[in-house]
Symmetry: C2
Subunit: 352 residues, 2 copies
């Protein structure tokens, strides 16, 4: 690890982590190495790598990756001489053994992510990361689902556990600029550690919201080359670097180097199917503020009850349904069908 | 023409006009009719149609369209019963005969576009549009190239000529939120007519900048289904409608209807090649603030002199070069090569 530069702003490239969602976690170790080398050459501040759902995510539930965490780390870590190397850990998916592994293979940072109201499950993981000599950071997922005061309270827990930075994550791409401003500015005022922001592009606001977050006091920002990432993707890193330079921000990464990493190194690894796009599915998820895993269940239930899946998703968003409550989807579809005339189920094509 | 709704905000869908650039002006009259019908059904406020460079654009210089202005109008106008139908006119490309034609075929609005410092060439066209009973609006292209005071002075000319609205056009997608805010707020304060905004997505800010424009007083906004449009495309209309609804704006078009127009009607007409994307070419054009027509010449000159075309484009942007000054491109490439060691020309592969 070497500090990649002097600018206060720290950019975290997650092409090899959140970007793994876009390729169904199928980057090979060789591909990861090539992308990491290009990013390191471009003096990216931080390079994050792991299964899209963090270390240990490779499973029937979250999708098997093309290689193990250890294999990926062996391929990538030796290339990362200028940047800091980060791994992701979701308590409940990754284990302390993964933290040990990452530390032993040379990771500099471990970022620990929890649902925005569940920071308390991460205490032990933070301790373990700090004990293993890594920098710890906390990510509050689906931060749009909690009011700013709750986000702050949860961020304070992470700070107390040892986080050196806490990120407001707009995991569903559901935040409007005002939502970002309220959360990031409150955390910036009240925490003594760095505040970060992580955007998704479901409402077309990944770059716009990132600028808003920086105005509000964020000093560390997530993005992916070519706008890779789950769903409609994250803030497009090469665009972010160019836009920030144009706006007068002092950024460490080399603009042309990051552009080259995006188009010369990464792009040939992608297919049309793996390019994130802002389609109607992404849009309605961001509008409703629900996580992408609901989409498939909602489609099935909506077909059964003859209702528009978009209405079901919007209703689920208003109910603030979270992962694990998928059984509510059928209830909502059924209720909406009844409200629309009581015979919605007449169009049912059977329960599959 | 019928007023499509009561909301003060007026959305202008340009899928069949700026979107024509993305398909090399090859929408057929049947395709135009289908898209217009879907937009009309969704109660879009305004539907704009014509060659991408306005009526009369079909030519060897700007690219031949699949049909004539009259054929397109015959196909589209009968479908537009709820929305207002708009056509585009660039003085120097379109003629007064085109205005007569559009009026006779039922167009409600003619928007007249000039370079941001050349509003004075449009006086006669505005008069002609008003005389023919159409609503006239003015578009100031490449508005990032002039300071806010100049944009205002030019907008006032258009107001004087009879414009009922003037649009700040970020034709190169080069504006940061602050650039938008300064120009739109000044026009909103000083003009007695409506102020509009037209975004491109080269810096990933099409939707973000549009929200900024609305905050600053804009009341009419351009966009295209699926983010179609020249270069990296315009503000994606269905995303715009959803984001504005979510932000509490009162919009006339039906959100689901616009989504359906985008994905059920338009998308099957597009190929991967015609989908706008935010690639390195788009990004560097937005960063440099130069128009996309410079790209081809710059590539050729840069190859000849062995310099990075991105540096040439950035230099051209700083020189505020405009269309018609393409001969400067070679000078810049040659000068940059000299500055980088005097032997840049050694890598030349001949002047093609």
């Amino acid at each position: 690890m070497t500090d990649a530069g002097d600018a206060d702003l720290r950019l975290v490239d997650m092409t090899l982590r959140d970007g793994m969602h876009a390729v169904d976690h199928q980057f090979t170790p060789d591909q990861m190495r090539d992308v990491a080398r290009a990013l390191n050459d471009a003096e990216m501040d931080v390079i994050e790598m792991s299964h899209g759902d963090g270390m240990g995510g490779s499973s029937i539930n979250y999708g098997f990756a093309a290689a193990s965490t250890g294999e990926y780390l062996d391929a990538v870590a030796p290339e990362v001489t200028e940047s800091d190397l980060s791994v992701l850990m979701l308590p409940g998916i990754g284990t302390v053994e993964h933290i040990e592994l990452a530390a032993s293979k040379g990771a500099d940072i471990c970022r620990i992510a929890t649902h925005v109201t569940e920071a308390d499950i991460s205490e032990e993981h933070f301790e373990y990361v700090v004990d293993h000599g890594m920098e710890a950071a906390g990510l509050l997922m689906l931060s749009h689902m909690a009011p700013p005061e709750t986000v702050l309270e949860q961020a304070k827990l992470m700070e107390e556990y040892g986080a050196e930075a806490v990120y407001v994550m707009d995991s569903a791409g559901a935040m409007l600029p005002n939502d970002v401003e309220e959360r990031v500015s409150l955390l910036s005022e009240e925490l003594s550690i760095d505040v970060g922001f992580h955007a998704h592009n479901n409402l077309g606001l990944a770059i716009g919201n990132t600028l808003t977050a920086l105005d509000a006091g964020a000093v560390t920002i997530d993005g992916c080359l070519r706008g890779l990432g789950a769903g409609s993707g994250n803030a497009q890193m090469e665009v972010l670097v160019g836009t920030l330079k144009k706006a007068g921000y002092d950024v460490n990464p080399d603009f042309f180097g990051v552009m080259d990493a995006a188009e010369d190194t990464l792009l040939p690894m992608l297919t049309e199917d793996t390019m994130p796009e802002l389609d109607n599915d992404s849009l309605i998820l961001g509008y409703a503020g629900v996580y992408s895993s609901f989409l498939r269940h909602t489609r099935r239930a909506s077909e059964r009850y003859g209702v528009d899946p978009r209405e079901v998703l919007i209703e689920l968003g208003e109910m603030e349904v979270v992962g694990g409550q998928e059984d509510l989807i059928t209830d909502v579809a059924s209720r909406l069908a009844e409200e629309r005339g009581g015979d919605g189920a007449a169009t049912a094509e059977g329960d599959d």
